[in-house]
Symmetry: C4
Subunit: 225 residues, 4 copies
């Protein structure tokens, strides 16, 4: 219980700074990739900010590991956090969790479960698509026979991949670009599963009790004097 | 209760006119996009009708917001209506709701839940595909290296996109055309989720009680003297 | 009850002949499309057989409609049958139902529900893919810039479409070929939903009770003296 | 009961050797396909090892069939094993089962159901993709107008196929290569169903009881003095 209390206090204190750091990480990486016309000073600054925020995430991870008192089980019990340390571009995903926690504290009514899942999946798709488009663009831009040359191409490709549509008019050609693409396909599948599953259960909830959600109208009519 | 009554009365009165207006909106937009050989007068008329019906949707939305007595929560509680105001091409989707309400009033037996969901998803796909094909065609037609040149190409592309097949033999190349395409991909995913989920639950319902739906035949046989 | 009895007797008598007729229909259509080197006599024969079996399906449909004593509700209560009359290439799908009925009569243990659904979906995919490949090949073969030229191309395209993979290396270019393709996409989505849903529920059934299906081994160990 | 005991003893003894043999099979096949610069001696050795391990799987299958005392029902009750005998590249999939059994014996807590399904589906995808990429590469490498020329192309194609993205920038052109591809599409669909279904049920489990998994924080707050 003591560990839990310390963990809660730690998370409570670091929540907001880390959320800001994650947005800073994404912004500095985006400026580094997209700002080709900028001077070397700005690129060095962006890389420094990117590195510093990454170090921050690792430090937070280690502190929470120590507080938890767990051993290796911490790694797979906090799988999202572990992936964040390896791929800090995913860090902004925790913002959703933060927002959820803030809403709960204020005692505001939360969205129904499937809508929350869909919101989470949508936000994840947006972040993943944006991060993936940046990373692939950085790899592909210099390749001689690349079809992904601008950020617009890259975003278009990311959308076609995450939705598993896959036109193939633009596609990565470098080994590293393709590796990132395979990772995005796997995430696209998982997101598809999340959207499909939550949509399915939402539909069942909404339609399964027609008396409560839709019925009052017809109920009043048939039951009225 | 008073608000609810007024809302019901308002919806009851505006239901049919707005359904007709939504079809008028779609028709005038279609004529504007597809009728390239028409004179300027007809194009101006179509745009006028399109604008007028759009204004009608906004007016209806504002009136219902005021009647509801809700504040900002109205926006996300009536998410479909909010999206309709921004993207009136989606307005005809409410026709499904209207049809459902009319059926219920007449006391006719409604289709089983998953079949209704599938009907809804199919009709949504048709409307979304038709509207999207029109909108993309309008953007792509003039681009120099466009592959979508006729309405046939556009519909073919829309079908391949909504089903997430994505051949890529025709695909939008302009930024605005691609933006519309990304929106359609997102909707395609949601529709896929709806179809998958409803099909899944329908199968479970049908097969889970073989005695009632399939059994009488074998039941009579085994129970016969 | 009288109507039901007559319906059962009718179905019992026509089951086997109609199943054979549906295979005959498919075979004669396939020979007509694939046997380009055959003489005109054979093509005329094939078309005659195709037409005769189609007429048979329509006759059976009308007889069962009359026996049922239902009015228009018969059309959507027997949706698969109605579609068969319009698209007799789907007729062989009823073979699955026939097989199921035969198995039940013999009192043989039926497969668990989700496996049956998956078998049904797989067989449907095979039949739909085969029929669709034939129909598209017939439309595309003569087009000047067609990419689908042989039956192999056509089957390859059908597989890529039904699985929603959609490479796009071969794709229909004629309006009628594309119309058939859109119909196959819609069916591909429905099959995907069936496979996904049944797989999902099968997994839940299998894994949800680990004591019964997997447990005996560990159960003996922990419970042994 | 005697048969079951003997079966358990047999499976207990052969579990580890067969798991090693399956990895040996995959390794020797991979060396044969990828090691084009190796001398004939090594290729002959690889083929010999591949053949020997395949024979081992068939022998194990026959022994277990005989022990089971079942007749033809053994074939479809042990469907995965039957497929392994025909397509030994799938054999390593049983490694997951072995790992699961070992974990259970040690009395270690197993992963929650949907996570186990997702782990199983992920591992299956990896093995299937690797095996399929090898098999397709072997068929395509020599074709004159092939787009799959290196192992990198082949893996890239396999990933795009299993995720049903299907860019189409590289695709098999030989009949045998396309046959393998169709088989992989079918498996991709099944895996998609497994991932979607397990993700869906996992989400429902996690979110359905917010008091247990997420609630302590807010529960303490509202219940505190």
């Amino acid at each position: 219980m003591d560990d839990d209390d310390r963990m809660l206090r730690w998370e409570h204190r670091t929540e907001l700074p880390l959320a800001l750091a994650s947005l800073l990480f994404l912004a500095s990486y985006a400026v580094h990739v997209l700002g080709q016309g900028l001077s070397d000073f700005w690129h060095a600054l962006c890389l420094a900010v990117t590195g510093a925020t990454w170090a921050l995430f690792i430090a937070d991870y280690l502190v929470r590991w120590r507080i938890s008192g767990q051993r290796l089980s911490f790694v797979h019990r906090h799988l999202l956090d572990t992936m964040v340390v390896l791929l800090p571009l995913l860090r902004p995903l925790r913002v959703v969790k933060t927002y959820d926690a803030v809403q709960r504290r204020r005692g505001q009514p939360r969205l129904p479960l499937p809508l929350r899942v869909m919101a989470y999946a949508s936000l994840s798709s947006l972040l993943l698509g944006f991060s993936g488009a940046l990373a692939v663009l950085q790899q592909e831009r210099g390749a001689p026979d690349a079809t992904i040359k601008t950020f617009g191409d890259s975003v278009w490709w990311a959308a076609a991949t995450l939705s598993t549509v896959g036109y193939g008019d633009v596609a990565p050609v470098t080994p590293l670009g393709r590796t990132i693409a395979v990772f995005m396909m796997a995430c696209g599948l998982a997101l598809l599963g999340a959207v499909t599953g939550s949509f399915s259960s939402w539909l069942l909830q909404v339609f399964a009790r027609p008396e409560e959600t839709e019925g009052p109208r017809s109920g009043d009519r048939s039951g009225g004097p």
